[in-house]
């Protein structure tokens, strides 16, 4: 395999990883606080894709992008309010089923509204300009994705470690009941979590789809699952962990496909998950917790 | 002297930085009722959890009828901590799962009642009987073990009679009044045919009258089932009335041991309890 090919692959892997990382953060934050796999997160990401298509058809990108982020956030929070809040006291299983139900609903809704035929993703001019460095060629977004990811994560870490709401979040993820007793407004904290998570999903979807150019109702499912694996890998609840996991999965996936094992590119992600859960159940950066008897 | 029924040697349990139980040693003899008391968070329940195999201890061993059932060697930081200390260091590493320990004949109840809430009273007891079922899956599914099944039911019902729940056999466990739930939990423990019964705050949340009933009840089952009882309790009058010996621990360390009378006037104990005791 020639040098340029390898470089090209690395580029693909890293930018894919970047997008994954952004989605994974959404999972890890929600799980950290609600102990819930937000199965719908992948679908939120997919819906963000469709929102972008419609916004861009009627407004310039610099208007469209914030609008899309806002709408996606609204969707995310709405889902939390409608599908998760009522079940807060319910057994774990019914909340998960509710999450699956939501993703099932969003998928069918998308199929119904936009049909299963893929919609072309609008081109954001400045993101799409392609570079040719010798034989390696890629659009700006490919380079931009990882950079942007890192920046966002740094900001997020600052938010979580140096603001009141951030402190509240950490408290809630440590101990739900106690922090409630300490007078932290659980619901607002959860909402904030979903706001951040959905916003990142929106950004992620813009980067991801600009690079891949078309959206179908199923575009969300697999990235969603993979990003959850990424979150677990990095240690659920830990944001840097999610990022590392995201990049790692993006890159390994690309490598596998590059080597001609595309059959197993998805399967591998899950093998990774199972192995990880067995030998390092708390992931790379997650901290241990003993359940009280 | 005859071997102890239960013996803890230098049992230490450390969670991260917290030492919940600190090289605790104690012994319980055949036919005794021994109480383990101490202020909240003294590590009583943790000690129980170590004995029943819920947590493997950081160091120390537990013997049952002179047989090592739980044991662990210090690892990592702990090694340094123990280096050259006079306290015993245990090299064997025995960590059976709780069900194995139950099979050996140690049954327990829980501080916060842990019944199978949505199952009927009878089922709760029958599950404890499942432990020593002889029939394999096949014969159980095809009811070839009708006789065994009948015996299980009969003994279960007998137990329910003893705790006075035979009329409630088909009620859902969670629908029972609090006191009854405690009784059911004990009946369930007895169903495993234990030699040693560990009771974790059996009288918690009971009014004086209920407590007296409980006292009598514990005495009765001890006699009927030839049990040795090791209990954690806060209700001092219950403890003082029922137990032959008492161990007092604070911050995971044993601070006193002796008959109720001795313990009562032990200044250390009083100190430990001042302002902390709620019973």
């Amino acid at each position: 395999m020639s040098m340029t090919t390898i470089l090209q692959h690395c580029l693909t892997g890293i930018s894919l990883g970047g997008a994954y990382a952004l989605i994974a953060i959404g999972y890890t934050m929600v799980y950290g606080i609600l102990r819930l796999i937000n199965f719908a997160h992948g679908e939120i990401f997919m819906m963000a894709g469709y929102f972008m298509i419609f916004c861009m058809s009627s407004m310039p990108y610099f208007v469209a992008i914030p609008v899309v982020i806002l709408v996606t956030v609204a969707l995310g929070v709405a889902i939390e309010r409608a599908a998760y809040k009522p079940l807060r006291t319910a057994p774990r299983m019914s909340i998960m089923i509710s999450a699956i139900g939501v993703s099932y609903l969003l998928q069918n809704l998308a199929t119904y509204l936009f049909t299963a035929i893929p919609r072309g993703y609008p081109e954001i001019p400045f993101l799409k300009q392609t570079f040719h460095i010798k034989d390696v060629s890629a659009s700006l977004v490919t380079f931009l994705t990882p950079v942007l990811t890192i920046v966002i994560v740094v900001l997020l870490m600052l938010l979580i470690n140096h603001t009141k709401i951030g402190m509240a979040m950490r408290a809630v993820s440590k101990d739900f009941e106690t922090s409630q007793l300490m007078g932290i407004k659980i619901n607002s904290v959860i909402s904030v979590t979903f706001v951040i998570g959905s916003a990142l999903a929106a950004v992620g979807s813009i980067l991801y789809f600009t690079d891949r150019m078309s959206v179908t109702p199923f575009s969300g499912t697999l990235p969603g699952l993979k990003c959850f694996v990424a979150a677990v890998f990095g240690g659920i609840g830990s944001i840097p962990g999610a990022v590392v996991g995201g990049f790692l999965i993006g890159i390994t996936e690309t490598i596998l496909v590059a080597l001609g094992y595309s059959t197993f590119s998805d399967a591998f992600t899950f093998i990774l998950l199972i192995v990880m859960l067995l030998f390092l159940p708390t992931g790379l950066f997650g901290e241990k917790s003993t359940d009280k008897v | 002297m005859s071997a102890h029924v239960l013996e803890l040697k230098d049992v230490t349990m450390q969670f991260g930085g917290v030492v919940a139980v600190d090289s605790l040693s104690l012994a319980v003899d055949e036919g005794e009722i021994v109480a383990l008391i101490g202020p909240n968070g003294a590590g009583k329940t943790t000690a129980f959890n170590v004995v029943t195999g819920v947590y493997p201890p950081t160091n120390g061993e537990v013997r049952f009828h002179d047989r090592v059932i739980v044991s662990n060697r210090p690892r990592g930081k702990m090694k340094k901590l123990y280096a050259g200390s006079s306290r015993g260091v245990y090299t064997a590493s025995v960590a059976p799962s709780p069900d194995r320990i139950t099979k050996l004949g140690i049954a327990r109840t829980f501080q916060n009642i842990r019944l199978f809430k949505d199952l009927t009273v009878l089922e709760n007891v029958l599950i404890a009987k499942h432990m020593n079922i002889k029939a394999g899956l096949f014969s159980a599914v095809f009811r070839l073990n009708a006789k065994e099944e009948r015996q299980m039911r009969e003994s279960a019902l007998a137990l329910l009679k003893i705790v006075g729940l035979e009329d409630a056999r088909d009620e859902v466990a969670s629908s029972l009044p609090y006191g009854k739930q405690r009784h059911l939990e004990i009946a369930r423990a007895l169903a495993t045919e234990p030699k040693l019964l560990l009771l974790d705050e059996p009288a918690a949340g009971m009014n004086p009258q209920e407590t007296d009933e409980l006292t009598a009840f514990i005495r009765r089952i001890k006699e009927d089932f030839h049990l040795t009882v090791f209990m954690i309790e806060h209700h001092m009058n219950l403890v003082m009335e029922i137990s032959d010996r008492i161990y007092v621990i604070d911050f995971g360390k044993q601070i006193a041991e002796g008959t109720p009378a001795q313990v009562q006037d032990n200044p250390v104990v009083i100190a430990a309890y001042l302002g902390v005791e709620e019973a």
Binding site: A116, S137, A138, R212, F218, A258, S262 | -
Partner: protein, 388 residues
């Protein structure tokens, strides 16, 4: 109590449904003969399926009746959506049979046709495939016929075209778990190698995969003259655009599925220059039937608010319908077995050429149309003929 109510509700529903379902399917009055339309109108192939249905509907407008020993029978179309999903296909096919259809037309997508084939066989109802190109559909099924050519043929056609266009090396990209894509890919490979070409790269991708960069990077490294990427219209634009973005200039070729305007819409200017084989071209009306069909159907399309490019599958749907009524005529009865026997003998001038069936029940066709995209329009390139 609420639970009780639910139980009761459920039971009632069950009973109601059974009752409804058991009601004898109206076998059709003596004056009506039913033709079933077994097509996907939703799911992965929903788009293509619908185009095929349009062709069939139009055909029915043109030939609304059929003569059976002196009596005129009104033809009634019964449509069932198989959702491009095998598990649904069985019940959809069954619903047509139960509705008393004498002949079935369909389906777009070979997988569902194969699944439904067994049902039609069991019920001895003949089926005429319009655009299902997989050999499996008619193989070993005496009741399945088809008016289109087969994948082996199509693969050979594209291979011939490629080598005639001077291509020495080709890259083949196929979809895992998809019989159409994988099958066509294999046949292309075999034919291309026979013609002295080399297969520089073979890549596979997963269903619903959206990122083809890694695959295409390998392809780029192999630097082939042409890329053969038979795939559903869902994935086509992705492959095309991402390939161009990576700076791959090789001609991208595929099979009949690509003749769908959604590809041009989604791939935009990148779609320019793609090449694919298809069954029909309105610029080259091969037969009298075709000359009459083209203007008529264009009008029909505009009346139904569709773009007036005639998709090949619509033409095939039309031909399948013709085959059906021809068979009914010559069978001169409404008995589906008789119609089946008649089908083996029919021979008529269809829109996509003269049609008659061989012992497998496949149309004897030896010509395919090659098309490309130019200025955002499908454009006829040439016809390729391969002796069978």
């Amino acid at each position: 109590m609420k639970k009780r109510l639910m139980v009761l509700f459920a039971l009632l529903l069950c009973v109601a449904m059974l009752a409804a379902a058991c009601a004898p399917a109206s076998a059709g009055t003596d004056k009506v003969i039913k033709i079933g339309v077994f097509e996907p109108q939703s799911g992965q192939n929903g788009g293509g399926g619908f185009q095929e249905v349009l062709g069939i509907r139009y055909a029915k407008e043109v030939y609304p009746t059929v003569e059976i020993n002196g009596e005129t029978y009104r033809i009634e179309l019964v449509e069932a959506d198989n959702k491009s999903d095998k598990t649904e296909a069985v019940s959809a096919a069954q619903s047509l049979v139960s509705a008393g259809c004498k002949v079935i037309i369909g389906s777009y997508g070979s997988g569902v046709s194969i699944a439904a084939g067994e049902i039609f066989l069991d019920n001895k109802v003949p089926a005429i495939g319009a655009s299902c190109t997989n050999p499996q559909v008619t193989l070993g099924n005496d009741y399945y016929f088809r008016v289109c050519f087969l994948d082996p043929f199509q693969g050979t056609v594209m291979a011939n075209y490629a080598s005639q266009a001077g291509a020495k090396s080709a890259a083949v990209i196929t979809e895992l778990g998809d019989d159409y894509s994988s099958g066509l890919g294999t046949f292309f490979k075999d034919a291309f190698v026979k013609l002295g070409g080399t297969v520089a790269a073979e890549e596979q991708f997963q269903t619903n995969q959206t990122d083809f960069k890694a695959i295409l990077t390998n392809v780029k490294a192999a630097n082939p003259d042409v890329i053969f990427a038979p795939s559903s219209i869902a994935t086509a634009p992705l492959i095309i655009k991402q390939a161009r973005e990576l700076g791959i200039t090789a001609t991208i070729m595929a099979g009949d599925t690509w003749e769908n305007s959604s590809i041009i819409e989604n791939a935009g200017k990148d779609a320019e220059g793609i090449v694919f084989s298809t069954f029909f071209d309105d610029a080259q009306p091969a037969t009298a039937e075709a000359q009459k069909f083209v203007p008529g159907f264009k009008k029909y399309l505009t009346d139904n608010k569709q773009s007036d490019i005639i998709p090949a599958v619509s033409a095939l749907g039309y031909d399948a319908y013709l085959a059906a009524i021809n068979a009914i005529k010559s069978a001169n009865s409404t008995d589906s077995t008789a119609i089946r026997d008649a089908l083996t003998k029919v021979s008529f001038e269809g829109v996509t050429g003269s049609i008659s069936f061989d012992e497998n029940g496949d149309a004897k066709k030896d010509m395919a149309f090659i098309k490309t995209v130019q200025d955002g329009q499908f454009k006829f390139l040439k016809t390729v003929t391969v002796a069978k």
